[in-house]
Amino acid sequence: MTGTEIYKRTAAYEREASTIRLHAPQWKLLLAYDGQRSLAEVALSADVSFAEALPLTEKFLTSGWIEEQPITLDQYLKRTGASDVSAIGAAVPPAVVLHAPRSETAAAPPPPLEPETPAAPLPPPLMPKVATPPALSTPPPPATASEIKVQQGPMRLSAVVDYITSLVGNTALGQLLVYRVFLQVPPELLQAEDISSVHLVNDTSLIRSESLKKAIARAVNEVAKRPLPDGVYAPA
């Protein structure tokens, strides 16, 4: 799983819902799968770390309560912003089944920064094997320093960590990418906010300092080459 997969609850879930026993945070995650948002987005919305969401998602899949939501190539192109297949140089659309868009106007989540050769073997795919799609679009260009904008609400450090981790598609490597990001954050800003450490799973810190929020957003932009999504901010 890379975090870009999209899941929906199944008919089996509907039948068994009244007999299912889960902890409240697990229910929150299970009920968040809507066949629209990616796994990374669902985890963010359910306040579950990406690292926690992975085994829970596998458990729900094994139990038959959720299934992956396939979409067409056309939907995928709309989600990624590519106008047509010719724009990406494919003469014939490949026979692929991909993940569903949130909506046609919603911004697509960034594609995972897949390592060339993952350090650890990935779990077997949950869908039947399909052809690997070509690189349909390039990631959004990183913003310049003056373009970095942050939301008014406090920044949830756990959401920042989970977002960066999800970009890589491998938790261990993603956590090292988080480390690289924080190497770029001025220590004096962290110290001023009383941040002496970041827990890479379930950090509960909220960042309220505007300068620190901007520094973190800038570091993500520079190192991960992606803008931070609005979902990392709590309501103001």
Binding site: A51, P115, T117, P118, A119, V168, A172, L173, G174, Q175, L176, L177, V178, Y179, R180, V181, F182, L183, Q184, V185, P186, P187, L190, Q191, I195, S196, S197, V198, H199, L200, V201, N202, E222, V223
Partner: protein, 154 residues
Amino acid sequence: MPLHERDIHYFIEATVAYLNKITGNEIVLRDPTIEFQSLVFSAHTGLFLLSGDANGFVYFTTSQQFLLHLHTARHNRGRFSEENSHDVMVDITGTIAHSVQKRFGPSLHLSEPRIFSTVPDDPIEMPPAVFVQPIMWRKEHAYFVLGLATSETT
């Protein structure tokens, strides 16, 4: 060009693979942290300075009990001394050095290992942040710590 994350992770993999070989795959990795203000040192530490493709340091630090368990698992005998602690740490650092040199060759230079007890004799400059990977075996803790220079990120 900084090292890729998977290259950095190789340091941890090599260390854990060695420990798992001795312990029969009983090593448990806990959730890592990034520390900004202090370095963690346990009773015994083996440290390398890095230069070349990466600049900074890596070290493995652990309790006396952890090393005792390792020594016992490896040599099947219980007698253990300060000298044995040093020997076990030499084995661990030697394995890390061998694995890293085999993978990276001359492009990444590791210093001679600095093995010490409690805190380092020579001060270590604290980088802006260090990556700490806690390791647990038989309720004893060890830590793999990585400190990279800021320039390694871009």
